[in-house]
Every structure is written in C-alpha cells, then in structure tokens.
C-alpha cells in the first residue's frame, strides 16, 4: 500500500513537532510505502533537515504562492454557476463545506486558477462588494481577493502522484490538495491535525496588522469552511488530544470519523538514559529559538529562580538560525537580566545526550500541539514545567481515561506567566518528594499511553481500515 502523506510548511524542511512526528511515523511504519508531498509557500530550493527513510519511495513538492501553467481545461460557466449558487455570505461553514464538496466532486479536474478571469466570478465579487463594502478601495478589494485565492486555486489544481491512500497532516491548503487527489483518482484520504489549522489561521488573522478589519471575519470563515470541506470529504480525521477534537467537532458533523491518536516516542531509548552526576541544578528548554516558543518568558523565570538558588544552569537546546532577529532579542534580554553566566544556547544537538544532564525541562510556548519534548523528558524521568497550551496539561496532569495513569508529572502554568513558571521550577527543586513522584509518574504515563509502538499500530490500523473499507465500497470496486 502506498500512502501519499502531505505536509504544509513542515517536513522535511522544518524541525520540530510535526516533522519529528512524521519522521518517526514513516521510519517506524514498516508495512506501507510513503510518498512524501510537501506543499511549500514560495518557490525556492531548500536543503531538507531529515534524511528520507527507505520506505519513502517518492517525493513531490509544489508551491502555493507561485504561478503555474497548468495544462488543464479552464473552469466552465456551468461549474462557476454551481459554485456561485452555493456561496452565501456570511458563510455557514458546515453547509457550505458539504455543498462545495459535491461541486468539486462533479468538476474535479479543471485549471481552477482560471476562475479569477471568469465573468461569473467578476459579477459575483462585484455583488459581494456592493452588498457589503461599497465604500472600500476597489483595487485593494480585488487584489486582496486575488492574492488570497491564488494558493487555494493552486492547491485545488495541482496533480500529485497517484497513491492508494492520502494522509494530510493538516486541513488548509494541503488538505484541499489531498481532497482533490482523492476525488480525481477516486482514493480515500485521512486528515491528522496536530494544531487545529483554522484556529491557527484565526489567531494569525486577528493578530495581523496588515489585514483590514473588513476582511478579518470573511477570511476566518473561509478557512473554517475549508476545514469543514476537508473534514466532510475525509474518511477519518485524527488528532492528538481531546481538546483538539472538541474544536474539530464544531465543523464536522459526522463524529464517527473522529479519532484520537496521541504522539508516541521511543520509550525504551529515553527511559534507559542514565543520569549524570552534577553539581548544579540543570534546567533545559528543548526547542527551536523562535517566537512561538516564547523563550523570553523562560529567561525571565530563570532570572527569578537564580535569585533564590545559586547553583542553577539553563540550557536552550535547539537551532537558533530560524528567526535570527528573535535570537538576537533573546541574547539582548540575557544581557539586560545579567544571566549570561547561567544561560547557554547549545544550538542543534542530540537531545538524548542532554536529557542525562537535565533535572527539569521547561516548555514556555504560546502554542503547541502535543509536544514530543515533554514525552521524551518524561520517559527520561525528568519532571516538566509547561505552559497550558495544546495537549500539555493532558500530558502533565493526565487525561483521566482508562489508558492513562493518575497524577502529576510536573506543573502547568499560564502562557507568558514567568512568575508562576519560576515558582513551579522552584517547587520542583525544593520539594524532593514531589520531584521524585513526578519523575516516576512521567515514565509510567509515557509507557502506558505515548509509546511509538502504540502510535504506529494505530496508524497501521487506520491505513488498512480505510483502504479496506474503500476497496469494499462502490468506489473501490469500480476503480479496480
């Protein structure tokens, strides 16, 4: 069986959460072959950060923000009329997702980029304009629409390699590409979300200064609609943890296709790491030095910790070259806080070797999915202090479900709250009993719930199940 696995801006170019998970999944899933498909933003060549495992048999990449000359039929007026008839603003996402799916199923192989030159499109955007923002700069309106639509249209049009099952590691543009490949080649597709794509876009749009107020809500609802559309067409939608699934349910009526498959790590490897003897309290933050990891909050908390505990060291373990400006700001903050002698940036490193030196792992991110770094630290017996983002509180405090164990393996604080983070670190250092129990619970929890073997088994079952179901269905038999 050949799985076409689609990434958007992650594997194989960016290290971290999704990419590490993907590398681990493909390396350990021995029963299937993979075609890695990367949906890039701007057309540039880059060096991959991962070596392809042997079962990655093919690779394909295209770019959303670029112009392609597709050798396909331009969109027809019939398609445009049907499309326009179902788009009503304000969007009703679930309703529109279903309707859009039916239209795309019927007309699945056009050069959709020609849509913007179609007369029906023009009349439609004029109607929207006149109804909602007739006072607006029309030139801005037109180009805003056109530039925002371009990646969607490219994603809908591009032909990716033929596979047996498509697996998109997000909704969004990659999800659309998977959906269209599924419709074009008559194959099933599944979605796995680490972070919830439309929620992330929502945050981006609300934060961004370049988007005018009039456009924020329509764009947010458009991304919601895209998620609803891809959920609707997917055979299965998986995510890492419960909180995410709750959000998915808002846009996916068919709850039977929703499933949780937590991340998994190599427990045996991490649990066998021997602790080194050391004279100081070593605190580590494992991750890329980028804004979303909010390294500055961690630095501020370390400053507070260092005022009460003299022998403390703080290691930031991860690449520093991704956001050079942010790295520079962090260094300036270290100078201002006067903690240069206790803070060290290690750069790219083998984290396994560092876990033997660390006493506490800190995670100060403002956004996460289900961070592998916490699981690795826990498997190594290191208690963690983490912000309350993504699945962190589930991981640290437990889910309360049968396949989990009770108890805390660290402490959770609010994002940006450096004072609470410092208190939590101090508590772990000073309360030896709590430290030891957290260390034990962490190991046990990972062993019970977050082993890579479990994860692989579940994905193996997922691929096989979806594929078998498709073979048994009318679609599968007609294709065969």
């Amino acid at each position: 069986m050949k799985i076409g696995i689609l990434f958007e801006g992650t594997y194989p170019y960016v290290q971290g959460g999704v990419s590490s998970w993907a590398a681990s999944l493909m390396r350990n899933e021995k029963n299937v072959d993979f075609v890695a498909i990367h949906v890039g933003a701007n057309p540039i060549r880059r060096l991959p950060k991962y070596k392809f495992s042997d079962n990655i048999k093919d690779y394909f990449e295209f770019f959303l923000f670029s112009s392609y000359k597709f050798e396909k039929q331009p969109v027809t007026d019939e398609f445009m009329e049907e499309l326009v008839s179902i788009i009503r603003y304000p969007f009703e996402e679930i309703y529109m997702g279903e309707k859009l799916f039916n239209v795309l199923k019927k007309y699945n192989n056009f050069d959709y980029t020609t849509l913007i030159k179609n007369d029906i499109y023009w009349d439609f955007i004029i109607k929207l304009y006149n109804n909602f923002i007739p006072y607006e700069n029309f030139n801005y309106y037109y180009w805003n629409l056109r530039s925002m639509l371009l990646p969607f249209l490219n994603a809908l049009t591009v032909d990716i390699p033929v596979c047996d099952v498509y697996h998109s590691v997000t909704t969004g543009y990659a999800g659309l590409t998977a959906l269209m490949a599924s419709l074009r080649y008559n194959k099933p597709y599944i979605i796995t979300e680490h972070g919830i794509y439309h929620r992330e876009r929502q945050l981006d749009l609300l934060r961004s200064k370049w988007v005018k107020d009039e456009y924020r809500i329509p764009w947010i609802r458009l991304f919601n609609t895209i998620s609803a559309l891809t959920y609707y067409g997917a055979a299965k939608v998986t995510t890492l943890f419960k909180k995410n699934q709750q959000i998915e349910k808002e846009l996916c009526d068919d709850h039977s296709k929703l499933e949780i498959i937590p991340n998994g790590i190599d427990y045996n490897h991490f649990s066998s790491i021997e602790k080194e003897e050391k004279t100081s309290v070593n605190i580590g933050l494992v991750g890329r030095v980028v804004e979303i990891k909010d390294i500055k909050t961690a630095l501020k908390s370390i400053k507070i910790v260092s005022e009460s505990i003299s022998e403390v060291k703080f290691y930031i373990i991860g690449p520093t070259d991704e956001e050079p400006d942010y790295f520079k700001e962090c260094k300036e903050m270290i100078d201002i806080l006067n903690i240069g002698d206790i803070v060290e940036f290690t750069g790219m490193a083998d984290v396994s070797q560092w876990y033997s030196k660390l006493d506490i792992v800190v995670l100060s991110s403002v956004s996460e999915g289900q961070p592998l770094v916490l699981l690795e630290a826990m498997a190594s017996g290191i208690p963690c202090v983490s912000t309350d983002v993504g699945a962190c509180s589930e991981i640290i405090y437990g889910t309360g479900e049968d396949n989990d164990i009770d108890g805390k393996c660290g402490l959770i604080v609010k994002p940006k709250d450096f004072s609470s983070m410092a208190k939590a670190i101090n508590e772990l250092i000073e309360n030896k009993e709590f430290y030891n129990s957290a260390s034990e619970i962490g190991k046990k929890r990972v062993h019970k719930r977050y082993m890579v073997e479990n994860m692989i088994e579940k994905y193996d079952g997922l691929y096989t199940g979806v594929y078998k179901k498709w073979l048994e269905s009318d679609s599968g038999s007609t294709d065969l």
Binding site: N42, K57, E61, S67, N137, F138, N139, S147
Partner: protein
C-alpha cells in the same frame, strides 16, 4: 508625447478663439509637421514651379553663376536632376523604408516610453543606436536581395539607392527617439534641416554629377537630419553608449508591436505595389537601364495627394486626445489605481467613453467637412496639379479612402491607448488582407476601372470593425484592466525525489 497635453491645455484654458486656433495649429504641427516638411521637400524637387524658385535661390547662394546663366540653365538642370532615376530611387526608398521600419519604430517607441515611465533614461541612447543598427541591417539585406535578383542595374544605382534606402530607414527610427525628447521645436527643426539639406545637396550634387548626384545628395541631406536628431537624443537622455543587446529583448517581448507597425504600412502601400505590378498601369524602367523598378504615376500621384488631406484628422485627433479625452482617461485610471470605489470607477468610465465618443464624432465631422470641400474643389479643378488627366474615380475615391485611413488610425491609436495590441495587430492584418485581395480581385475583374477602391474599402471595413471592438472593449474596460494584470508571483516549479537528492548531493 507627455508634454503635448500640458501645452495644449494651456492654450485651450485661455478660453479664447485664438487660444483654440493656436492649440489646433500646434497639434497640426506635431501630428503632421514632419510629413508636411518631407512632402514640401519632395514637392520642391518634383514640381517644376517650386523647383524653379528654390533652385534660383540655391544657385545664387552657392555658385558664382550670373542670374542670366541661372535662368537659362534651370530648365536643363530640372531634367538633369528630376528624372526617372531620381523618382524611382525616392519612391522605392520611401515606401520600403516605412514598411521595414514600421514595426521597429513601434517597438522602439514602446521601449522608450517604458524606460521614461520607469525613469531609466541611461539606456535610451544605446537602445536607439541598437534599433538603428537592426533597421540598417534589415534594409541592407533587403536591398542586397533586390539588387541580387536585378543584378543588371548600374553599380551607382545599387550603391546610392541602397544608401538612400538605409538613410531613410534610419531617419524614421531616430525620429521616434527624437520626438520622445519633448523638444518639439527642435524636432520640427530637425525635419526642416533634413528637408532643406536634401534639396540643397540634391540640386548642387545633381548639377555636378547628374542623377547619381541628386540621389546621393538627397541621401546626404537625410543623414544631416539623422545626425542632428541623434545629437538631440544624446543631449536629452545622455550619450551613454554601452555594448548590450538588452534592447533586442524588447523586440521579442513586444513582437505584437512589430507586427502592428509592419502590417499598417503594408496595408497603406500594398495597393500601390499591386498597381505597379499591373500591366495596365505599372510602368517598367528597363529602357532607362533600371531593372526591377516599376511605378504607376497615374495612381501614385493622386493617392499621395489624397494622404495629405488627412492632416486635419490627425491634428484634430491629437488636440482632442491630449486635452479633453486624456483628462477623463487619466481620471478613470486614477480611480482604479488610487483607491476609488467601484462606483467611482464606473462613473469615470462612463464619462470617459462619453468623452471619447463625442471626440470621435467631432473629428469625424471636421474631417468630413474638409473632405467635402476638397472634393468640391477637386471636381471643379481648382487644384492645379500634375494629376490633371487622371480619372475622376482615383481622385474621388482616394480622398474618401484617405479619410477612412485617418479614422482608422484614430481608432487603432485609441485601441492602443488601452493596450489592445492583439486587436490592433489583427485589424492591421485584416486591412492588409482586404487591400491586397481586393487590389488583385478588382484588377482582374474590372481592369483599372475601380482603382483606389481596394484601399478605401479596406480602411472603411476595418474602421467600422475597429470602432465596434473599441466600444465593446470599453464597455467592460474595468474588468479587462483588472483581469489582465499579472500577479507579481514567481514562476512555480515542481520538485521530485531525484531533484531533491541531486540538490542534497550538490550542497554537500
């Protein structure tokens, strides 16, 4: 012609009759000045009445001949200078140089206006030289092919006709760059210098060397004009000459302009060429030792005069285009680019179309009155010219055809104002096709009874089609403008397994 509008508006804004007359005169000079001057220079040489006056002055100034000797020798001199050799050389060089450079000047014109728009003046002189070179090479090749086929021609004809031909091609090309300098007085002066020096050198050299001298003299005069214009271009844009063929790229990019210009001149001249080739009217010059050359004086002469009757159209068009229409045109595009709402855009579009229609109507009415007057004068033979004896049909239909040619030019220029190059290209090809088809067809069916009809019908049909296209396009111009803009995105590509492996190996 960025500066024209400003000056014309200054005249018109005075609100006086004299202001309007001045504006019209200014437009006439800009639109038709070079043509008038060139025609005057040729008329001087080809019309005995003019020739006599001018030759007297020149011989007085440049020779030691007495008045008596001058008057005595002028008749002799006229036949010595103005003869079959001179006529053939001038007509062929004029017609084929415009055909060969028609496309090149359209591309150069676009190239220069793009550079002026982007304030990249440094390359204009180099580019002009590059375009001159390419037009000279093409002209040389064309002349070599012609004289290769008609090898019996005398050597001096081969050399000096080729030189004149190349010189005129160069003149048309360099004049495009010269007009871009906005120094209209200097521009007209350059044509005056060209005309005057051509006449002087033709007469002086003709007097000494006969036909070879008059042709060479004319070519030399043209080269004096070329030199002055090239100096104007260098003085205005800078004399930076760098060896680069970047300008050649603009030929590839603006290939439609190349076709537009070439086919426009082919459309204008093809009926003449067909008539030359016809056994009924075409005259061979082999008895004078000139091979491959044919003319049809009875056709060429009235048609040439007919062309001159379109000067009012051109002048009026420049006037209204650069003043009334341009204001509305600018407002429309300002609304598109500078934050207008959709209703602002539609209102300004409607006003622009309204203004354009009323301007076209004004130009058409004006030209119809002029044509009617000329028609009337022509019919009662008030114009005394050497055309006497030509059939009424050629005269009458030629004037109507020229009027339609003027209207056609107006419509196609308006289409080009909105950058509908493909449409203009197809229209020019259509006009050429109708003209050549009908020229052959009418000759074979009606002999020479319907001369001039092919030219007139071709431009009439194309004018109406062009107008329809223009109106249809402008109805949706806002949509067309938005849709045809390209997004500034890089060209996309795909990466597959082998690509990425290769890239990794390269980087390692």
């Amino acid at each position: 012609m960025a500066g024209i509008g400003f000056r014309l508006n200054r005249f018109i804004e005075t609100g006086t009759i004299s202001g309007n007359v001045l504006a019209f005169a200014y437009s006439a000079i800009i639109a038709a000045g070079p043509w008038i001057i060139t025609s005057l220079a040729l008329s001087t040489l080809l019309n005995y009445g003019f020739f006599k006056v001018i030759a007297q002055v020149i011989l007085n100034v440049f020779t030691n001949m007495t008045d008596r000797e001058i008057i005595y020798s002028i008749q002799n001199l006229y036949s010595k200078i103005v003869n079959e050799y001179f006529s053939v050389s001038i007509v062929y060089s004029f017609v084929f140089s415009t055909i060969i450079t028609g496309g090149i000047i359209m591309v150069l014109s676009r190239n220069i206006s793009d550079k002026i728009y982007s304030e990249n003046y440094d390359d204009i002189f180099s580019d002009t030289v590059g375009f001159i070179m390419i037009s000279q090479i093409i002209s040389l090749i064309a002349a070599m092919i012609f004289f290769g086929i008609y090898d019996q021609n005398p050597l001096w004809v081969k050399i000096f006709v080729t030189w004149l031909f190349i010189s005129l091609s160069t003149l048309w090309v360099v004049s495009v760059a010269a007009v871009a300098t906005d120094s209209y007085v200097k521009y007209l002066l350059a044509f005056a210098i060209t005309g005057l020096s051509s006449v002087i050198f033709s007469i002086l050299f003709g007097l000494k060397f006969g036909p070879v001298g008059s042709v060479a003299g004319y070519a030399l005069g043209v080269n004096v004009g070329i030199s002055y214009m090239l100096f104007m271009v260098g003085e205005y844009f800078g004399f930076r000459l760098k060896i680069s063929f970047a300008w050649a790229k603009s030929i590839v990019v603006n290939w439609q302009n190349l076709v537009i210009g070439t086919f426009y001149y082919l459309a204008i001249w093809i009926d003449d060429i067909v008539t030359w080739a016809s056994p009924q009217l075409g005259e061979s010059y082999t008895r004078y030792g000139l091979y491959g050359f044919r003319l049809a004086y009875d056709y060429d002469s009235p048609m040439f005069l007919a062309y001159l009757t379109t000067i009012p159209t051109m002048a009026m068009f420049v006037l209204v285009l650069e003043t009334y229409f341009y204001k509305k045109y600018k407002l429309f595009y300002q609304n598109i680019t500078s934050g207008g709402t959709y209703s602002d855009i539609i209102i300004s579009k409607n006003e622009m179309i309204q203004e354009m229609k009323s301007n076209i109507s004004l130009v058409v009415k004006f030209q119809i009155i002029i044509t009617a007057i000329i028609y009337f004068i022509n019919d009662i033979n008030i114009i005394v010219s050497q055309n006497a004896g030509l059939s009424d049909i050629i005269r009458r239909i030629g004037i109507v055809g020229a009027m339609m040619n003027g209207f056609y030019l107006m419509i196609t220029l308006l289409l080009l104002y909105f950058d509908f190059r493909k449409e203009v290209m197809l229209l020019n090809i259509l006009t050429f096709s109708i003209n050549i088809g009908l020229s052959y067809g009418l000759f074979s069916v009606f002999d020479n009874k319907l001369l001039g009809f092919s030219y007139t019908i071709a431009f009439t049909v194309s004018t109406f089609i062009g107008y329809k296209i223009l109106i249809k396009k402008l109805e949706n111009i806002e949509k067309i403008e938005f849709n045809r803009q390209k997004m500034y995105t890089k060209e996309g590509f795909y990466i597959n397994y082998d690509d990425i492996e290769k890239y990794v190996k390269e980087k390692k």
